[in-house]
Amino acid sequence: MNDLELLYRQVIMEHYKNPRNKGLLDDPTYKAVRIKNPSCGDDITVQTKVENGVIKDIRYDGTGCSICCSSASVMSETLIGKLKEDAMTITETYLNMLTNKEFDTNVDLEEAIVYRGVNKFPARIKCASIAWKAFEGTIEESE
């Protein structure tokens, strides 16, 4: 597989075409954060509901390229049900992986590992980051 095929792996396409947890709720128990990528118009809002230290639910909506939209879907699937601390660790590890920083390979990124290929495309790192950054934002808001 070449870099590009690596980037557009089956699992990414699957989430792009069949997004999970998409659509926002009108529910004040969720914290929401919106992030845009000024350079290309990606625009994602993430809503998170935390209960007793557990990520009870994540919803999102927005527009963007396949990397951006699919990563929001993958993020929601990966993090729902996790302990808040674990979700944050996974997020940090994921973002480090994207930006070619050292990252703890013991952390199980689950499906999100497929975004490893993005580090070959620096101009697209933001696309794969913003949903996760918005999630981080919702947790910080709730603290």
Binding site: L4, L7, Q10, M13, G41, G64, S66, I67, R124
Partner: protein, 402 residues
């Protein structure tokens, strides 16, 4: 003109695999311009207008010589050329100085959905503050500004007409001369955004009789951080400065001050000296080739590419009949940002997005477009490689399930 020979002037094209199709965002720079910048920094890097020693005199002469070159480039007079940070700054001066001081709630400003943000947002601001009404020329079904539609919105209340000369998304040439004539008949002034015209088209401000006109250096082989505002003498004379300080004043007292005449009144502080000098070199380069020859070359490349793209299934072109070297298109069901990564893999640089012109993107009812823009350093081989890449991109994304 021979693009194969010209290519050699552009150091960045030493990378023979690079295909640069994003000139509408910013052009590449020939060594003649880069060397000129170096000359300033290595031989006479002093301030202008201020020193009475020789090096500073040389810098001042070179700076003002660039102003004279800009005059010749668009057939303006010396005191009608203001150096600015870029086209955006230039258009903002017109809106803030002329617009805010001359418009009232009885007046109307004509703009269009085909404008770059730098030509529409300053006038939105003027409209918000003065309550002058912002009026949009309806675009025809191709997305063009036509005389017929322009007449529908022009009336005795129109005080300012702010339109582009060439659109940066659609590449259409606006019938600006006739628009200016009609506008003057009702007493309106016309501010022309020539950011995409100056690099590609002979401009004669006396012939078209525009009141203001703006363009940028970096889109026409020149440095970043320099632009030109043309304004008719009589208008500039009456307009208040927008920035204060540095070199733009005459006498300064504790509680009042007087200004220099145009253009200096609008050039507060140390100007972008190297930028202006580099822009002069860029104009020389263009003049040596002949801007008409550049236009013919670009059009040829664009027509050829459009004809080939039309043969590719799943490609939608939004402006196939454009008169200049810009093509806006998409590949069906592939988000332009995904597509552009594919092209990047083939070392083809091109834009995906709203091109700082969201209104026309909304008008087209798309999220964004891909854009290719040609210039003098592009060749038929560039077009062929690009077309090949489009085919491969289409195949790749389809097979990936898009």
């Amino acid at each position: 003109m021979d693009p194969y020979i010209l290519k050699k002037d552009f150091p960045i094209l030493d990378d023979k695999t690079l295909i640069y199709l994003d000139t509408a965002a910013s052009s590449l720079k020939p060594k003649q311009v880069i060397n000129k910048l170096e000359e300033y920094y290595e031989k006479y890097s002093t301030n202008v207008h201020r020193g009475v020693y020789n090096l500073s005199y040389v810098a001042t002469e070179m700076y003002e010589q660039s102003r004279r070159k800009a005059c010749e480039f668009i057939n303006a007079d010396f005191d009608e050329i203001v150096f600015t940070r870029g086209a955006s700054s230039a258009l903002n001066i017109v809106a803030s100085s002329y617009g805010l001081n001359n418009l009232t709630s009885d007046d109307e400003i004509i703009v269009s959905e085909l404008e770059h943000h730098s030509q529409v947002l300053p006038w939105q601001n003027v409209s918000n503050i003065t309550k002058a009404k912002l009026v949009y020329v309806p675009l025809n079904k191709e997305g063009r500004i036509t005389i017929e539609n322009f007449k529908k919105v022009l009336n005795n209340k129109t005080k300012v007409v702010a339109l582009n000369y060439v659109s940066n998304v659609m590449g259409y040439v606006t019938p600006i001369k006739e628009i200016i004539k009609l506008s003057h008949n009702v007493g309106a002034i016309v501010c022309v955004d020539a950011a995409q015209a100056a690099p590609h088209k002979k401009i004669d401000v006396k012939d078209i009789d525009c009141d203001f006109l703006a363009f940028s250096g970096h889109k026409m082989l020149g440095p970043t951080g320099i632009g030109v505002l043309f304004g008719k003498k009589e208008l500039l004379k009456e307009m208040p400065p927008i920035e204060f300080g540095g070199d733009m004043n005459d006498n300064v007292n504790l509680y009042d001050a007087t200004w220099k005449d145009s253009p200096y009144k609008f050039e507060a502080g140390t100007p972008p000296i190297a930028g202006a000098i580099g822009l002069g070199a860029a104009m020389d380069y263009i003049n040596d080739i002949g801007i008409e020859n550049i236009a013919i070359h670009e059009k040829k490349l664009k027509d050829y590419t459009v004809s080939k793209l039309l043969e590719i299934e799943d490609v939608v072109i939004y402006n196939k009949d454009a008169e200049t070297g810009i093509i806006s298109f998409n590949i069906n069901s592939v988000h332009p940002h995904d597509a552009v990564t594919f092209f990047d893999g083939d070392n083809i640089c091109m834009r995906a997005g709203h091109h700082c012109a969201q209104l026309i993107i909304k008008w087209l009812k798309v999220v964004a477009t891909l854009r290719v823009s040609f210039y003098l350093y592009n060749t038929i081989e560039d077009c062929d490689r690009f077309i090949e890449s489009v085919k491969n991109a289409r195949d790749f994304f389809k097979s990936a399930g898009f």
